[in-house]
């Protein structure tokens, strides 16, 4: 009996935990093969690493977004937090703050925005859609005020700190051929997977999103759980924002606009239910990959980039339609 239980546990450790992830994985493979066949430039190491680099920042945010959506909530402010924390950090660096301190403060500010989101939503009972829509604009406004609408540049000319190359390395460097940015994404994904599947907090996020009343009756404080999810996505948005400025060496007030919708799209394509209570980190990673491959492949095929949004939009609808359809047929 216990031996059997043992194998059950370990089997789940290595395989996908549901057929849903297999479905989305197959979709990814199909898209991947399609572009490999259609374009000679698609399937080579340089391009693949390029795709990975392009999706890393979105991926980091999508990990947090997945947790928020599992809680049955939504966060529209991540793109603004992504931009604002970067601008704040850049301005601090230019004004003589040590880089490490500016970095820590930038992340702290992003986390704080997330905390504010969570506290407002859980304690005032204002819907997350409204609170984070408001925060999206408030935080965007802060970015524009601080930058006065201008581009903020980070370079040895503007920042007088010998550790600047280390900071820029986070965005531009490579370790064993893999961009450091991607390593951050991989680490975030592993961390999110662990949090979601192996910790009490992740367990409670599922519970709170699955049935608020049952969670309450089970002695779970859903306010704390949800606020934690918002703080985490705030933290990750700020981290992504800082990696972005380290990569580009510059940031402006409008940086990160539309990021929130891409992050939500990746989570949904990955098979996480907007209704809350069930989500998948692996699926979200695949959802991010699909978006990256689509964007890259469309350009390589010489299709007008204006088509990108249209195609990604159609994929979102298709993914959810497939999901509903398979669930219906699975039930009957």
């Amino acid at each position: 009996m216990s031996a059997e239980a043992e194998t059950n546990v370990s089997r789940r450790r290595v395989t996908f935990s549901s057929t849903k992830e297999i479905g989305i994985f197959i979709a990814f493979v199909v898209i991947f093969l399609f572009f490999s066949v259609m374009s000679p430039y698609f399937f080579n190491l340089e391009n693949l690493i390029n795709i990975l680099r392009q999706i890393s920042l979105l991926g980091i945010i999508a990990m947090g977004m997945c947790l928020v959506i599992v809680c049955g909530e939504i966060d529209l402010s991540v793109g603004s937090i992504y931009g604002a924390s970067a601008i704040l950090t850049a301005v601090m660096m230019m004004n003589g703050f040590p880089i490490w301190l500016a970095f820590v403060l930038g992340i702290a500010v992003g986390t704080l925005f997330g905390l504010i989101n969570g506290i407002l939503i859980t304690y005032t009972k204002i819907p997350a859609l409204i609170v984070t829509l408001g925060m999206m604009n408030v935080v965007r406004g802060i970015s524009l005020i601080i930058s006065s609408g201008r581009v903020v540049n980070i370079s040895p000319r503007t920042v007088d700190d010998p550790t600047l190359p280390i900071f820029l390395f986070l965005g531009q460097g490579k370790i064993a051929g893999i961009p450091v940015m991607c390593l951050f994404f991989i680490a975030t994904a592993i961390g999110a997977y662990f949090l979601y599947n192996r910790t009490l907090l992740g367990f409670r996020m599922k519970a709170v999103g699955g049935s608020a009343r049952a969670a309450r009756a089970s002695g779970i404080n859903s306010n704390v759980v949800k606020t934690a999810a918002f703080a985490i996505v705030g933290f990750l948005s700020a981290l992504a924002g800082l990696l972005n400025i380290a990569f580009l060496g510059s940031v402006q007030g409008t940086t990160g606009q539309g990021m929130e919708l891409n992050a939500i799209a990746a989570v949904i394509i990955g098979g996480t239910s907007l209704a809350g209570g069930q989500g998948t980190i692996i699926g979200t990673v695949i959802g991010v990959l699909i978006m990256g491959v689509l964007n890259n492949g469309i350009i390589l095929l010489g299709i007008s980039p204006f088509w990108q949004m249209t195609i990604v939009g159609a994929v979102i609808i298709l993914a959810v339609a497939l999901d509903i359809w398979t669930r219906k047929s699975g039930r009957s």
């Binding site: 216990s2 059950n8 009490l200 699955g210 049935s211 009343r213 049952a214 969670a215 089970s218």
Partner: protein, 498 residues
């Protein structure tokens, strides 16, 4: 007077439960006809069939001599049957007139929407009910009594010949109820037939012309109101045959230590001045009709009520639970009434569902889940409680109701409680699973747990509890034990309060 409605051999089955079993009786045109029975006797099911919400599995409804097919509320309306549900079905954000003509906006205007005409018609109908409600008022701004009048007016706007009233006085004050009775009598004078479903025998006798009694889904008697008295109806509702089923199993624990003591407990709008004690190893049942405050008492003890007064103590120490997590810490567990909404986590596995109330054991100090422990706990309970499943990874929503409830019981046993509160433990569960669950209940008391059990099922309360507390209208009206712990006594107190 001729018969307007004739129920012929109506049968309705929900899964393993037979809600109506070969029910036949007729209703005379222009009468007020009461339908009575205890919780679960089949009154609501019959009403839903007549209202077009359910289709009977057997038998037929005959209307004015013709068999009719009531496959939707719309079909019932076409026929002239309207239901005024206990929970009103009005759109609070619309005006009185808009509600009256909802879905039929073109009816009065020869195919066009003619609001002034609808307004006038609304005023006429309301005036006929002796009401001065403004037709342009928003429904959400009306009192409960006025909303009920709007419901009745809507039935009249449908030109209803038969109006079914479901527990119409449950939310009304005495004075409002009196006004309602005047209205109902006036409607009867105009030839409208009224089916009056109520628990309150004291209102039925002065108001109604005939009375039909249902018990366990069967029709057990119909009378002209003059031919029967209140005691006779109570006897019929209770049934003479099963007075004390399991009296042998009943034990007297009242000399043991008190594990839970409630004194003068009140919650505004729900119940007041409720006092009782629960002893070690005891199973105490709380019986009462819907709305008598039973569930609210349990919720209050478990920390789910926003505000309350009085005192609760557990194991001799005062207990003030502000949330369920406080209650769990104090050794309490609660299996809630509504399994689907407040019990299960539908998307989670059996294993995860078992472990949700078990935070202390299921994770280490760093908050990392102890998955082996969770798996062992789940496997242990699947075996002990005989939960029928192929694997602990199966989603709980794929189990039958009885097995789902066993998972919920497992969840609470895993939290190591000392007092268990249960609310409608076996609602919607088939008979064999019920008996298994009762067995579990008995085995829990053997291990020293004390159980406070709310149930609408009289047979369950009588068979499973050592002592029966009866609630009526938010008050604790009886503590029945020993000789007095009989079905007749329970029903008498629950209906009449004395």
């Amino acid at each position: 007077m001729s018969d307007i409605i004739d129920f012929r051999h109506i049968t309705k089955i929900f899964g393993a439960v037979t809600a109506l079993d070969d029910v036949s009786f007729s209703i005379k045109e222009g009468s007020i006809h009461a339908i009575v029975g205890e919780n679960g006797a089949g009154k609501s099911t019959l009403m839903h069939i007549l209202g077009g919400e359910y289709m009977p599995d057997g038998g037929e409804v005959v209307y004015r001599g013709k068999p009719v097919r009531l496959d939707s509320p719309h079909a019932a309306h076409e026929l002239g049957v309207a239901v005024v549900y206990q929970e009103f079905r009005l759109c609070p954000n619309l005006t009185v007139t808009e509600n009256l003509f909802l879905g039929r906006e073109r009816q009065l205007g020869d195919g066009k929407v003619d609001w002034p005409r609808m307004q006038t018609r609304t005023s006429e109908i309301l005036a006929g009910l002796g009401s001065s409600i403004d037709p342009t008022a928003l429904v959400e701004n009306l009192s409960i009594a006025d909303q009920q009048i709007v419901e009745i007016a809507r039935a009249l706007a449908l030109d209803a010949e038969v109006i079914i009233m479901d527990e119409p006085t449950s939310a009304l004050t005495l004075k409002e109820a009196e006004e309602l009775f005047v209205n109902l009598k006036a409607l009867r004078a105009r030839g409208v037939t009224i089916l009056y479903i109520s628990h309150r025998l004291e209102e039925i006798f002065p108001l109604c012309d005939r009375i039909s009694v249902l018990r366990d889904g069967r029709f057990v008697g119909g009378f002209e109101i003059a031919d029967i008295d209140q005691a006779g109806v109570v006897r019929l509702i209770a049934g003479g045959d099963l007075a004390d089923l399991h009296a042998s199993e009943v034990r007297d624990y009242t000399d043991r230590r008190k594990v839970l003591e409630v004194n003068g407990l009140s919650r505004p709008g729900c119940f007041s001045d409720v006092s009782f004690a629960l002893h070690e190893g005891e199973i105490v049942g709380i019986y009462g009709l819907q709305g008598s405050g039973r569930t609210e008492v349990l919720e209050t003890i478990f920390g789910l009520a926003p505000e309350w007064a009085g005192s609760i103590s557990a194991f001799g120490k005062p207990m003030n639970n502000r949330s369920p997590s406080d209650a769990i810490r104090n050794g309490l567990a609660m299996i809630p009434e509504n399994r689907r909404d407040a019990g299960i986590f539908p998307d989670m596995s059996i294993m995860d569902n078992v472990n949700t109330a078990n935070a202390g054991d299921m994770s280490n100090s760093a908050g990392v889940l102890r998955r082996r422990f969770m798996a062992d706990t789940a496997e242990d309970f699947i075996r002990k409680l005989r939960i029928k499943t192929s694997s602990r990874f199966k989603k709980i929503s794929q189990l039958s109701g009885g097995n789902q409830q066993k998972v919920i019981i497992a969840r609470w046993l895993a939290s190591h409680p000392r007092i268990v509160l249960v609310d409608e433990l076996t609602r919607g569960i088939d008979v064999s699973a019920k008996f298994e669950i009762y067995k579990i209940l008995k085995s829990l008391r053997e291990s020293g747990l004390s159980i406070l059990m709310v149930s609408s099922e009289l047979a369950e309360i009588l068979a499973e509890s050592d002592r029966i507390l009866v609630m009526k209208n938010g008050a604790m009206v009886a503590d029945l034990r020993g000789e007095r712990r009989t079905k007749e006594q329970v029903i008498r107190y629950a209906l009449a309060g004395q």
